[in-house]
């Protein structure tokens, strides 16, 4: 048993390590130092959060923040995902020490969101994430300016809406804490709820608010896109969970149908537009939109089983999309940008083709891979929560998604030997890690389900 005081220290240590090491690296211009500092910090964060989840305890920090298993789940996710992004950035970024510093700021923002007790840290966290992600995009080549500006404008707008909604809630609870506002709150609370959903819809790329996604994903360098899709979006889902199940817990009958509709529309929107994409990045941008729809299924159901499924799928998709964008970035650096360019990839580099195939099959929900159990849990919770049509829509969408993943696979496994592509060891490391996670939890999902279940235990449900 570890003393709480030590845990407080341990929880904060990774961020200190990351920030200080990257600052030092900027001064000394040492890429390796920044890399090791960032990796140690990220793994430390993941390690501490496993301890917290394992012991099932919560650690309070200065009265404002508190690390519960729910936060630990997301810190674990963010930490391990950031380690992967760090490896990729080390390979592809020319200004890695600066990148590592900004990444550590972003990680601090994620920590604020994960450990929050009230609405204010959420806003700080969202701002930190937004500004640092926009910087990361901007810093890598001039062509990225459009994407960065788009992200910044849309993100700022979302945060502005979020702030406005916060102001509306202020009158019910001046402390802005994440406790349920009273049942007699009236229509202003409803407006606030709608604004919150809209703001987080922007952040999480939910249907009517997701038009920025394809352009930004396409314009950003692939490892930043991986971060954006794999972590930033997932933190937005956590905020959504805070808003809906902590703040507006008594409004469940009101928001549940709305989220249900959004889930269905998001799934269909992403999948149908993905059908005709030829650019790999845009294809996966639309695919990740539809995956956001799946995650919403569990939130719409709103039972403990549903949220467990959502957390499971958030974890699964986070790694799958980072792996996918790691591969896409690697392919991009070899001049492969579209589905047609993927022709005979298998004979050019078998490892990349096979792992890309595995990641796509996992996203499509093929058993034996992590995506299947995520979807199975989601659909089961939907049927158990009497939302039969939600499950049907989800299954129909899995079927649609097979078509475009199948197109890519079809192109990859053609027998035409061209010049081979040499493997890059950093990309290899990241992809191997992702594939290992996909198989590990795809074959034996119980530990991850257990983790998600414990995290959901800290959400006040009915």
């Amino acid at each position: 048993m570890i003393l709480p005081e030590i845990l407080v220290f341990l929880v904060l240590l990774p961020f200190v390590v990351m920030t200080v090491s990257s600052c030092a690296a900027i001064v000394t211009k040492s890429r390796r130092f920044a890399m090791w500092g960032g990796m140690i910090g990220a793994f430390l964060a993941a390690f501490v959060s496993t301890i917290i989840m394992n012991e099932n305890i919560s650690v309070s920090l200065f009265g404002y923040l508190s690390v519960t298993p729910l936060s630990a789940f997301f810190i674990f996710l963010a930490g391990s995902a950031i380690a992967l992004v760090e490896v990729l950035a080390f390979r592809y970024s020319e200004i890695f020490p600066e990148f590592a510093f900004v990444l550590s700021l972003s990680f601090i923002g994620m920590f604020f969101i994960a450990a929050t007790q009230s609405l204010l840290p959420i806003m700080i966290g969202l701002e930190l994430m937004l500004v640092s992600t926009a910087f990361m995009m901007l810093a890598h080549g001039k062509r990225r300016a459009e994407a960065a500006v788009k992200l910044f404008v849309f993100g700022s707008m979302a945060i502005a809406i979020f702030a406005f909604a916060t102001a509306l809630v202020f009158q019910y609870d001046p402390t802005l804490s994440l406790t349920a506002i009273s049942g007699s709150a009236g229509y202003i609370a409803m407006v606030a709820l709608a604004l919150f959903i809209a703001a987080l819809g922007f952040e999480a790329a939910v249907f009517p608010f997701n038009l920025w996604v394809p352009d930004v994903y396409q314009g950003a360098p692939a490892f930043v896109t991986g971060l954006l899709a794999g972590v930033n979006k997932k933190m937005a889902f956590l905020v959504l969970i805070y808003i809906l199940f902590f703040l507006f817990a008594r409004y469940a009958p009101l928001f549940s149908p709305a989220i249900e509709v959004l889930a269905v529309l998001t799934m269909f929107f992403g999948n149908i537009l993905a059908l005709k994409q030829n650019n790999l990045k845009r294809l996966f941008a639309y695919s990740s939109i539809s995956q956001a729809g799946y995650i919403l299924i569990g939130i719409a159901v709103g039972t403990s089983a549903g949220l467990t499924a959502s957390l499971f799928y958030i974890f699964a998709h986070s790694f799958m999309i980072i792996g996918a964008f790691a591969i896409i970035g690697f392919l991009e650096s070899h001049g492969i940008n579209t589905v047609d360019d993927c022709n005979s990839l298998y004979s050019r580099n078998a490892f990349i083709a096979v792992s890309f195939g595995i990641i796509m099959l996992s996203m499509a929900g093929i058993p034996g891979l992590i995506g299947f159990f995520g979807k199975f849990l989601l659909f089961t919770s939907a049927v158990a929560g009497h939302m039969f049509w939600l499950a049907i829509a989800g299954i129909a969408n899995s079927l649609i998604s097979i078509y475009y993943y199948g197109r890519v696979m079809n192109a990859m496994f053609q027998r035409k030997s061209e010049r081979t592509i040499l493997m890059d060891k950093y990309v290899l490391l990241v992809v191997l890690f992702v594939v290992a996670i996909i198989f590990l939890f795809g074959i034996y999902p119980q530990p991850l389900i257990h983790m998600a279940q414990q995290a959901v235990g800290y959400i006040p449900l009915g």
Binding site: P367, G368, F372, Y403, G406, F413, R415
Partner: protein
């Protein structure tokens, strides 16, 4: 029973890894070795079944109440035996097209995992997992190793098969949510009560759609001709020999799980009859040997569906016997067609002449496969059709005999193929190769099985009654 199944699966996984990392020269040897080890394991399983019965499994995913439970019944023992025979022969007879040795060995071994898993798992979720592994392995088998139009054919196959598995998934989720114990254990589901009747109907419909798509029964068969025709020889053998039997076994399970199914058996039989007649009419328009054989496979699956719908002791025995007989005979037919194609570089019925003097063993095997498919006495197919139509008449009266018309049409067309392509001596097609020893081994093994089961049916019925 659990350790042996897991051991077989582990051996296969090790085999896949070895094939992937070693040179292509070793691929086939490893695949054959792994198939042989698995076959020994399966025989051991069947002996164990004869001595004891289904044993409880170990905990796997407690959250979903899913255990790793494996077991066999007489029916699954027969189907498992079938898949081991077909996979072993497929692996041993080698890649007729001589391309992609590594890929085909890996996919075959993966497919073996699926087959062993499906026929032994005692839990519907595991059944589903293995089902999809099989489908994906088959997709790549067509996509990577297939013929000219493999891209379209494989995507078509994948969409149909995943439609089937989506339907199956819906059924599984509904069963999981609405059974009182929230269990997917097959033994429990067969005896479970207390499922609301509308849910049971929905489960029945979605399961039926899933399995009929997999069996390629009439309105859902459109994946079949392309998939069979475009797949490599090994792919066609596995597709026709094993993959469609997943659906057949599923149908049997469906009748076991859903008590409602028996009320609709007449409609199911009607669908099966339509499918048989349709397949026969399509068959006689085919000019390409492989396509003709694929419609024959579809026709046979229709007959098997008829037998399952009749659902009495004789017809169930007939259905399982039929799946076995059809599996080995159609696999032999596809092997022979593949070899004919490689020897004569020709598979058009109008142009192929005098196969008998160009490739004697191939011609005899093809003829035997055809005889067994149309139910000629002294072949395995005869016993199967005898049992099936006895059973069908018992349940549906003379209407059960309508599909015989389809069989007759098929028989007539195949006799003409035999007399034209195999025997006709004017303008013989020139042979540009000979059948390899490994392919001849495949011919002998499958022919032996067909004849043995035609003369000594009790060999299989003993296993079936376990």
């Amino acid at each position: 029973m659990v350790p042996i199944v897991l051991l077989i699966i582990a051996v296969n996984i090790v085999g896949v890894a070895l094939i992937a990392f070693l040179k292509p020269e070793y691929s086939r040897k490893i695949a054959v070795f792994v198939a042989a080890v698995s076959a020994v394991g399966v025989v051991r399983l069947i002996i164990q079944l004869a001595q004891s019965g289904v044993q409880p499994g170990v905990v796997y995913i407690p959250y979903l109440n899913v255990g790793l439970s494996f077991g066999l019944t007489g029916v699954t023992a027969v189907l498992l035996l079938l898949s081991e025979i077909v996979i072993f022969v497929t692996a041993a007879s080698g890649n007729v097209e001589k391309t992609g040795a590594k890929a085909s060995a890996i996919l075959m071994t993966l497919f073996q995992i699926a087959a062993v898993g499906i026929f032994t798992s005692q839990n519907l979720l595991l059944f589903f997992v293995f089902w999809d592994i099989g489908v994906i392995a088959m997709f790549f088998m067509i996509n990577v190793l297939g013929g000219e139009n493999r891209r379209a054919a494989s995507i078509n196959f994948l969409l149909y098969e995943l439609f089937a598995s989506s339907m199956l998934l819906i059924a599984i989720i509904m069963l999981y949510v609405y059974t009182p114990a929230h269990s997917l254990n097959i033994g429990y589901l067969i005896s479970a009560t207390g499922i609301p009747s509308n849910v049971e109907l929905a489960v029945l419909i979605s399961m039926f759609l899933a399995f009929m798509t997999n069996m390629a029964v009439f309105p859902f068969h459109f994946w079949l001709p392309d998939a069979y025709a475009e797949a490599s020889t090994q792919g066609s053998m596995l597709l026709s020999g094993i993959l469609t039997k997943f659906g057949g076994y599923g149908m049997l399970l469906m009748f076991g799980i859903s008590g409602l199914a028996i009320h609709y058996s007449q409609y199911i039989a009607a669908i099966a009859t339509v499918s048989v007649i349709y397949a026969a009419l399509m068959l006689i328009r085919q000019k390409e040997l492989k396509r003709a054989a694929s419609y024959a496979a579809m026709l046979e699956m229709g007959i098997i569906l008829l037998a399952i719908a009749a659902y009495n002791t004789i017809s169930i025995n007939g259905a399982v016997y039929g799946m076995f007989a059809q599996g080995i005979s159609i696999a032999l037919a596809f092997l022979a067609i593949g070899v004919i194609k490689s020897i004569f570089d020709e598979s058009n019925i109008d142009r192929l002449r005098d196969v008998l003097s160009g490739a004697r063993s191939t011609a005899y095997s093809f003829a035997l496969a055809i005889f067994s498919t149309i139910g000629f006495p002294l072949t395995a197919g005869f016993i199967a059709e005898l049992l099936i139509f006895f059973g069908a008449v018992q349940s549906f009266g003379v209407y059960g005999l309508i599909p015989l018309a389809g069989v007759l049409i098929m028989a007539a067309y195949f006799y003409s193929i035999i007399s034209n392509c195999l025997l006709l001596r004017n303008k013989p097609t020139r042979a540009i190769g000979i059948a390899a020893g490994s392919q001849r081994f495949g011919f002998y093994a499958l022919s032996l099985a067909i004849v043995a089961l035609g003369i000594l049916p009790f060999l299989l019925l003993v296993v079936l009654r376990l």
